[in-house]
Every structure is written in structure tokens, then in C-alpha cells.
Symmetry: C2
Subunit: 298 residues, 2 copies
């Protein structure tokens, strides 16, 4: 059912390429700042060769699957969004075949759209969500634009985006708060995070709560190193509360993250009283692209 795979998670600014064995081990991986915004029209076969040519020569018979923004209007070929609810089979069936060379084809996976209230879209995250292998559950994929997705009966039924990472960057680095903020030292990270969570429980919302970082520092009641952790934890707590309002209270959240995001979201979910499972983005991508590739070949 599974065969060797060359799989690319090909986003706007970066690309990750994996050579995956029949039994699901990552044999080789490449990471490059060669996102679609650096690829000119007609340049995709050459960009693929630069990214994954070695993997291709190491496994000439491997199937090739491309996920992410490479399938967007600004990518190689547009693979139209599949509307939720969508099963892994629905996603696989909407893959678009492209020619890399005379005898070499690749499949570009589609993204998902959701029209439940607000219209929303994703490209790339659907593969990680499929990789969680859930029949029912709630997945959280933190990032610049975090995604939360609900899975029911093995299908992704709906999802929503949150601008948490981007707004954190704007507030931390470009707002009036940036002038007061310093790198955390000593126990700044823990103290700031705790205060951010408390501020998120206040009645007046984000526009008011974020400003407290300024007034508290000016009053000598918050250390400059607490500002970043305060803002991060305030925003993440607001995201979690928003997701709960949309999707209902979940017993458990399936978090797809590593490094600092895994830590900060893990702590925030625990503080919100939610059980958490954690998968790394690589593990979720590899598992997801294998499931979708097996659907392609059936």
C-alpha cells in the first residue's frame, strides 16, 4: 500500500523536502529558503531539482507529492480548495498532476476551504491534520496564522484561523510596547506568561489588556523582560478562548508544534484545563502525506 515518497511542504517563504521510506522513516530531509515567492513563473521544475534533485536520484521510483502554497494561485498550478467537510480521500482525489520532466510526474495537493460563518482557507495544514489520524478531535496548529480544525468521523468538518503569531510580532517589535520590551532574563518568561494569562481573563479584551504592558513597565511593576512573554501568553489565551467559543469545550487538544511554540501553547492549554497531545510538524506532515499518497494510488 505504501511506497517510497518524496514529499515537499512547499510554503510561501520556505520549503522542506523529505525522502520517506516505504515504512515511513525519513531517510533524508532538506530545508531551504526557496518558498514560492522566490520562484518565477516556469521555474518550478528547476526549483524542484535544486530542492530535491538529490532525493530524486537516491530514489528514482519514489512518488512525488507537493503540499502547501505551491498549489495556490501564486504557486505552480492552482489546485482548487476542497470544501469542508473533507475526508483524506476527498483531499487526495483533488490532487493535480504536473510534469516535472518528460517521464517524471508529481502530484500537487489541494488546500481546504471552510464556509462555516466566516470563510476561511488553509494550504499545507490539511496534510498535517490528516497526519494526526484522528477520527474525532480538535487540532491546533500554532503559527503566524494559527489554525484550529475540528475532525468528526474522520473528516475535517470545519476550521478557523487566528492571527496570533503575526499580531504578536507587530506588538512585540513594532508597537509602542516594543520600545519598553527587552529579552527575558531570570524568571521573566514565567512571570510574564502568568500575568498574560491573568490579563486575558479581564473583561475588556485584547485592545485594553495589551496596553497594560506599557503602563505596568512605566510604573515599575513589570520588568521589561516580561513584556514579550506577557503579550505572547495574552494572545495565545485569547486564541484558545476564541477556539473554545467556536468549537465548544474540548476534553483534549491535539497540538502540532515543536520548540518554543510547543512549550508556550502546551502551557497555555494546560492552564486552560485542557489535556494535550503533541505531534511535531515533521511527524504530522510525514504521516499525512503518506496517508494522502496512499489514497492517490488507490
Amino acid at each position: 500500500m505504501f511506497k517510497p515518497l518524496i514529499a515537499l511542504d512547499w510554503g510561501t517563504t520556505r520549503a522542506r523536502a523529505f525522502l520517506i521510506s516505504e515504512d515511513g522513516r525519513v531517510l533524508q530531509r532538506r530545508l531551504a529558503d526557496r518558498g514560492i515567492q522566490s520562484v518565477a513563473a516556469g521555474g518550478y521544475p528547476a526549483a524542484f531539482e535544486a530542492l530535491a534533485g538529490e532525493l530524486r536520484r537516491a530514489a528514482p521510483d519514489a512518488a512525488i507529492v507537493l503540499a502547501g502554497m505551491v498549489g495556490s494561485r501564486n504557486g505552480w498550478v492552482e489546485a482548487p480548495y476542497v470544501a469542508c467537510p473533507a475526508s483524506p480521500g476527498d483531499i487526495a482525489a483533488a490532487g493535480i498532476t504536473v510534469d516535472l520532466a518528460a517521464d517524471t510526474r508529481a502530484t500537487i495537493l489541494p488546500g481546504l476551504s471552510c464556509d462555516d460563518g466566516a470563510f476561511d482557507v488553509m494550504r499545507g495544514e490539511e496534510t498535517l491534520i490528516v497526519g494526526l489520524g484522528l477520527d474525532d478531535g480538535l487540532a491546533c496548529l500554532p503559527g503566524t496564522h494559527s489554525k484550529w480544525a475540528e475532525i468528526r468521523g474522520g473528516r475535517i468538518t470545519r476550521f478557523a484561523s487566528f492571527m496570533t503569531g503575526e499580531i504578536y510580532g507587530l506588538l512585540r517589535n513594532q508597537s509602542i510596547l516594543a520600545r519598553l520590551a527587552e529579552e527575558p532574563v531570570a524568571d521573566d518568561a514565567g512571570r510574564g506568561a502568568e500575568r498574560g494569562r491573568a490579563a486575558a481573563r479581564g473583561p475588556a479584551g485584547l485592545l485594553n489588556a495589551a496596553f497594560a504592558a506599557r503602563t505596568e513597565v512605566l510604573a515599575g511593576r513589570m520588568r521589561p523582560g516580561e513584556v514579550g512573554p506577557f503579550l505572547s501568553s495574552l494572545l495565545v489565551a485569547q486564541e484558545i478562548a476564541g477556539a473554545e467559543a467556536l468549537f465548544g469545550r474540548a476534553h483534549r487538544v491535539h497540538l502540532v508544534a515543536d520548540g518554543a511554540l510547543a512549550e508556550s501553547y502546551g502551557a497555555a492549554l494546560a492552564a486552560a484545563g485542557l489535556e494535550t497531545t503533541i505531534a511535531t510538524p515533521e511527524a504530522a506532515f510525514v504521516a499525512g502525506v503518506r496517508r494522502l499518497a496512499s489514497g492517490l494510488s488507490r
Copy 2:
């Protein structure tokens, strides 16, 4: 009780100077990009002369009152915050006297602090609030960092800041949404504002609702000219909801604004079912500084 006044609203980036007659008419006004950030230590008498020297020569006997960031730690002389609740008399009594020249003195008005839950401060807005002449009420002063203040028994009892204007600027001009936004044409402003108010009523909060501007434009369901009005009205609606959560439901809001802010906040308050009175910042400042100056001389 009243005598001629030279009054400066001297902020971080700009300064406004007024010559005010005994009966409260503005006889002359000056506006300059000579905020305190452009004045070096020791440079305040010269900066005053450049701003208001002509007014001084036109009315040599006028009292001189300076309000705003000029009284901050980074200004001329720090006039420590007066803690709420504060009456106009409390504010006037905390004014600091400085020497402009050998025989010329000026009074620097203090700001206010509020320690009701989150710590907050203001400098300059207290003068405008005093100018409303309220015994009881709720004032809204929109801006980069909007202020809402509660007045009870003639005293400013508490207030809160909202980063509405600053976060609007970051989202409109520096976020991923900036790339999609265009100047409003035709009925974009009205449509965008209406949709922003509707989005603010959604369950998932600002981090989610703002992202809809991106997905709706990409889907061809929102015009690029609607993005700015959508964001503005979403944020203002969140500010109003936050203020209501803090201060309770008010029958009427006393708005201090002119131009585009008066329009957008007026429409948002009306949409929220609140009666609104409007005073311009100049009228509120002139009335407030006269009340405070009369307190100084008593």
C-alpha cells in the same frame, strides 16, 4: 474668576497653543510639530517662545498653563500623576510651577493614574474630560490609544486605555492584510464598516475576525477598498464592547472627537445602541483648561 489664558496642549509629537479670552473665546491658535520628543533638555523656554511667543506678546498678562506630555518624565518637569478618583480641584492643586523667564511663570498640569484592576495612566486627556463639565457620565476619547473615563459626582473615578488606533495602523499598513487593502471607493466605506461590526459580534474574537479580511478578499467576497473600513469598525466595536464590560452599560457616551474619528465612533456608538454627545478636542481642551486655571487661581 476667569482671566486671559495661554494654554498649550503639548504632546509627544505635536503641540497646540491657544490664546483664550476671559470669556472663553479662542483669539489665536498655533499648531506645530514641536512635541516633547523634539525638545532637548533645557530647551523648553525656547520651544515655548517659538510656539507661543507671539501669543505672549499679544497678552502679556495672561496666565500660562501647559497640559500633556510636557509634564511627563520625558518632558520639562515631571508633574506626578494624581490618583483617581480625582476632582478638577485635585488636578489643579497638583500643578507644578516653572519659570519661563525671569518674571514669567507657567503651570504644568499633572496627568491621572488609575489602579482599578489594571494600572493605567493618561496625560492631557484629563483636561479634555474636565472640559466636558460632567457630574456623572462616561467619556470616550478615541485615538492611537483611546481613553474611556467614568465620571461620578464631578470626579474622574476610573478610566481605561485601548490600543485601537495603533493596532488599526499596524493591521492596515504592516500586516498581511495591508497587501490586499486599497483606498475605499464608492460604497466601500459603508459596506466595510457594516461587515466589521457584524464580525465583531462573532464568537471567536479579534485574532480570528481580522483574518476574515484576507480570506474574504481572496475569495472575491470583499472588495479591497472595504478592508480598511472593515478593520476600523471591527476594532472600534471591540473597544466599545470592552468599555461596556468594564464600565457597565451606559445610556449615553460623551465623545470627544472630530473629523473621521467623530464619524466612525459616532456610527459605531449608534450601532451599539448608545446615545452620543460630541465635543471637539479643541472645545473640550479650552473648556477644561479654563476650569483648571480657575482652580489654580483660587
